[in-house]
């Protein structure tokens, strides 16, 4: 047998157009809401309008007589069968959390809690009848403020006795990874510099464009759930764990999913209710949320109050960082909600060589929508804090903000570097990324223009914002997750099936919702197995097809799931090799595999791996003692996180008379390790940037004093449009991750994590000479204008992040000990 196929050029690194696109641009897409089954019923939710109330009675009689209404079900009706919403991340063994029934039974804890469900033959009829459900409430005092929540004067859950869920501390002195931060601060107070600041990380809403939708079909032996979710495997596990239905009787499918950003990293009450109702009625049911329901009751993100103290020598060498955090869980401890701040805990020291560090986090309950992961999850908050502080330090010293960073960052030759937070950064090159970014940005020219505008007193001032960031990605080493009390692992899985026709099916355990896995993973397999890109099919998102997986979040798909694919492919080659040797009548040791072909060294004899697949299909001729099968699977559990990094530079123009801001230029150079598909990477960066920029400029979930979300539609929750944004200049440096064969580091969250402080730093930089030293996010024109107007009294907007600690008593009124 002589194989003549040319070795194809490497797929990895090629800007392949996406396989996914064909169906998406022609409307041939399978969103959950597109699914219609025979006899399918539609659900509409009745939700609490109150932030905190007892349910005193529910009268369903009028609703039950609505046109084509099949059932009206309350929490009491299914209290024993609906299961319970669980958290996978109790961050301490003592963590307190209220029960979270999918449908409230006797009390509601936020405006949006479901109290009844109407099931009808059409969605419109269900919604009509939902208006007829008469619920009597007895209002209870609601706690809505994150800092007041920590005082326990009004309780979100009276039976819990406190709003405090868990207190978690990392202390470098105690951990042996550094020195004592209080000593560093005390010393800096006498002969150094102390920067203190409080920052409000406003509530954000993930606001994926596809509203969540769920269909449950109880007919047949397995109960099938289609859900617009990032995590079909975790949903299946949790349904089984909380409803008593055997896991083997549940199939969860995430079909095409329209964005997630962490917002669909969720177990949703609506999924659980749909599951319960379908079982109760023995009919398929569908629920698709309205946008208002999505904004009101899908989980929110950020919602943290940060209190920070940075100590430094007079020359700008940072000697310590102390972080005291209150994180708002909202009404319940959601799937990983409690753990989100911990994903930031190891990142406050960022790219710097701080010798002392302490992180205290108090999680609290309030009567607002529960919070959980939103793109970046913990790391944007950490990055924002430290990058704002580094700018403060530069200002205090009168030096360039890049210079103060360079003075403190880990130098290229110092990798691998174990940080004060105990993580080992395996690779990186901050000098290279920064040099490239400065050049692309035209840093010196823009600084010169800034000076000209300042000197001339231009009405429009220019500011330059810097953000040199790193993040921990590739979630995650299972043992590390275990040590942080996370309930699951961080491995992922891949199976490769070699079909007799030469096609290759790759089953992945990660679950894409816009990231282009079908393309990027095909490129990996094409290179690894030497098969054409077009011959690779990526299967995902269905627990009956993909039996094992940990799904998609935390920039993990490529880093963990991609590596599992690589290892499965290598096993395919290993399994195929003795069969190829047998067929070629050669010794295994004389075979080499390259470009998809097994060749006998020193001869022109060879056969493709696809020929071997066909030979195992026929099974006519294969070695004794082997199986006629070269399929393989691999589970990859990373040894470490990955640490992408980058330098982001932003130029903002600020109209000093109106407070209006305008982005002039944004340049970023990201090191995300090996790049599989530069087109997809660029897209991830662009989208991430706008979400981070949007936190800085536009987005905030706003509640009124009664606990009603007033930004509950796209009229009021300000997503940016194409007219609000600019085109970006992106570049890369590459330091491959050292602990995987692929060397990828993850890119999904980079833009979001890095961009927020770059924008705010730029705005402050534009008007600092007018006395402004901070503007609270989102930096609306009003807030910027007020900051300029009040420059004489400190230059900050009311309620904005501003240094106001009592210098004689560091830590006063902090969260220290709050969880004791």
């Amino acid at each position: 047998m002589t194989a003549t196929t040319e070795a194809p050029s490497p797929e990895i690194g090629k800007d392949r157009r996406r396989k996914e696109d064909q169906r998406l641009i022609t409307g041939r897409t399978r969103w959950t809401d597109n699914i219609t089954l025979p006899g399918m019923l539609h659900m509409a939710m009745v939700r609490s309008p109150f932030a905190h109330a007892k349910i005193t009675s529910i009268d369903t009689s009028a609703a039950k007589s609505g046109t084509n209404v099949v059932a009206v079900v309350t929490g009491k009706d299914i209290a024993d069968t609906q299961g319970v919403m669980i958290t996978a991340w109790p961050i301490t063994p003592e963590q307190k959390a209220p029960d979270h029934p999918p449908m409230a039974v006797d009390r509601v804890a936020f405006a949006g809690d479901v109290v009844a469900v109407v099931v009808a033959r059409s969605a419109a009829e269900a919604r009509d009848a939902a208006e007829l459900v008469d619920v009597e409430y007895e209002e209870l005092p609601a706690i809505l403020d994150i800092q007041e929540a920590a005082e326990d004067k009004v309780l979100a859950h009276p039976d819990l006795g406190t709003n405090k869920s868990a207190f978690w501390r990392f202390d470098s002195a105690a951990a042996g990874t550094g020195t004592d931060v209080d000593e560093a601060i005390a010393k800096a107070r006498t002969d150094g510099i102390v920067i203190e600041r409080e920052i409000e990380q406003q509530r954000l809403i993930p606001a994926f464009i596809e509203p969540r939708s769920v269909v449950v079909d109880p007919t047949g032996e397995q109960i099938t759930m289609w859900s617009a979710t990032q995590i079909p495997h975790i949903v299946r596990f949790a349904l089984a764990a909380t409803t008593g239905v055997p896991e083997s009787k549940i199939r969860v499918i995430a079909p095409d999913v329209g964005g997630g950003f962490g917002g669909k990293l969720a177990l949703t009450p609506e999924e659980w209710i749909a599951f319960a109702i379908a079982r109760r009625l023995s009919k398929p049911v569908k629920y698709t949320e309205t946008r208002s329901e999505s904004l009101q009751s899908g989980h929110h993100g950020r919602a943290q109050h940060q209190k920070l103290a940075l100590a430094a020598e007079k020359d700008g060498t940072v000697t310590g960082l102390k972080v005291e955090l209150i994180a708002d869980l909202g009404a319940y401890a959601a799937l990983v909600g409690g753990g989100v701040p911990l994903l930031g805990a190891f990142m406050y020291n960022a790219i710097y060589k701080f010798p002392a560090y302490r992180f205290d986090c108090q999680t609290v309950f309030t009567n607002r929508t529960f919070t959980d992961a939103y793109r970046g999850a913990g790391r944007p908050e950490a990055t924002f804090a430290v990058e704002r502080l580094m700018d403060d330090l530069a200002t205090r010293l009168g030096v360039d903000p890049l210079a103060i960073r360079e003075k403190n960052w880990i130098k290229h030759e110092e990798f691998p570097f174990t940080t004060v937070a105990g993580l080992t950064y395996d690779s990186g090159n901050y000098e290279a990324a920064t040099a490239k970014a400065k050049e692309m940005f035209g840093y010196d020219d823009l600084r010169a223009e800034q000076k000209r505008r300042r000197d001339s007193g231009d009405r429009v001032q220019l500011g330059i914002g810097v953000s040199t960031f790193t993040e921990m990605c590739g979630l995650a080493p299972s043992r590390v997750l275990g040590s942080l009390d996370y309930a699951a692992g961080g491995w992922d899985h891949a199976t490769i099936r070699m079909l007799p026709t030469g096609k290759v099916e790759v089953v992945i355990g990660v679950s894409p919702h816009g990231q282009g896995h079908e393309t990027a993973f095909s490129q990996i397999v094409a290179d690894r197995l030497g098969v054409p890109f077009e011959d690779v099919e990526i299967l995902h998102g269905d627990t009956q097809v993909s039996a094992r997986g940990m799904d998609t979040y935390g920039s993990r798909s490529l880093v963990v799931g991609g590596e599992a694919v690589v290892r499965a492919a290598d096993k395919v080659v290993e399994r195929a090799k003795p069969i190829a040797a047998h067929l070629l009548e050669a010794n295994v040791d004389d075979l080499e595999f390259a470009g998809g072909k097994f060749s006998v060294k020193g001869t022109d004899q060879g056969m493709t791996i696809q020929d071997v697949a066909l030979a195992t299909f026929t099974g006519h001729n294969y070695p004794e003692g082997l199986e006629p099968n070269i399929d393989a699977q691999a589970t990859f559990d990373p040894d470490n996180f990955s640490f992408p990094h980058g330098t982001h530079l932003c130029a903002m123009e600020v109209d000093t008379e109106t407070g209006g801001t305008k982005m002039r230029k944004y340049v970023c150079v990201d090191d995300v390790g090996t790049i599989i598909n530069p087109l997809i990477v660029a897209g991830q960066v662009h989208g991430g940037l706008v979400q981070g920029i949007s936190q800085a400029l536009w987005e905030e979930a706003v509640y009124d004093e009664a606990g009603t979300l007033v930004s509950g539609s796209f009229v009021d929750y300000l997503l940016p449009t194409s007219a609000d944004t600019i085109s970006f200049e992106t570049g890369h440096t590459t330091s491959p991750a050292s602990y995987t064969k692929l060397g990828t580091k993850g890119v999904g969250e980079a833009g979001t994590i890095a961009s927020t402080p770059a924008v705010v730093n730029a705005i402050v930089d534009a008007v600092r000479h007018l006395g402004v030293d901070d503007v609270r996010m989102p930096c609306t024109p009003e807030r910027v204008w007020r900051a300029i107007q009040t420059a004489g009294s400190g230059g900050s907007t009311e309620g904005a992040a501003m240094p106001h600690f009592d210098e004689s008593e560091p830590g006063t009124s902090s969260t220290e000990g709050a969880g004791a």
């Binding site: 022609t26 419109a124 994926f208 964005g259 796209f714 194409s722 007219a723």
Partner: protein
């Protein structure tokens, strides 16, 4: 119920509909034109954008009865003779989509924009698409795709529109 007759993606259809039924509901629920999607309740997101007599409309903002006697084109009817519309091809070429949920509306709006202004500037594209929200792309590559489509409008499309 009111009877309506209209042309959707080149096919004549007749149905009895509730007067309150939105055009987008009619397309999705009665005709199975699920390529057109719903992203919000307030006509902000533009995901449901279709063409009514050749002009873009948000189909959540039009009653089905208002489409009586008119011609509707959805994303499913945009390709002709098995060839992608240049704007569809440009979105693919420029990676102007990620999750793809906003994409049908974004493409339909882009086609309308280019019909009005075949050679827009970047700023004109950005303003022309401001009624359509995307959460994935940061708009960067969408804008690029529209400019690319304008540049390559007259070239034949290599990509076939049907199932591969």
């Amino acid at each position: 119920m009111t009877q309506i007759s209209l042309t959707v993606d080149g096919t004549q259809v007749t149905d009895d509909v509730e007067p309150r039924m939105l055009l987008v509901q009619y397309l999705r629920e009665k005709l199975g034109k699920t390529g057109t999607v719903v992203g919000c309740d307030t006509s902000n997101c533009g995901a449901c954008t279709v063409h009514l007599d050749g002009r873009s409309v948000k189909s959540c903002n039009v009653l089905a009865v208002q489409a009586n006697g008119h011609e509707v084109t959805t994303i499913e009817g945009l390709a002709t003779n098995g060839e992608l519309h240049p704007v569809q091809a440009a979105f693919r070429e420029c990676h102007g989509l990620q999750c793809g949920f906003c994409t049908p509306g974004m493409i339909m709006q882009s086609v309308d924009l280019l019909n009005e202004n075949p050679h827009p500037t970047e700023a004109e594209v950005r303003v022309g698409l401001e009624g359509n929200l995307c959460r994935c792309t940061g708009y960067h590559n969408i804008v690029k795709a529209v400019l690319y489509a304008a540049e390559h409008a007259d070239e034949p499309q290599a990509e076939k529109a049907g199932v591969q």
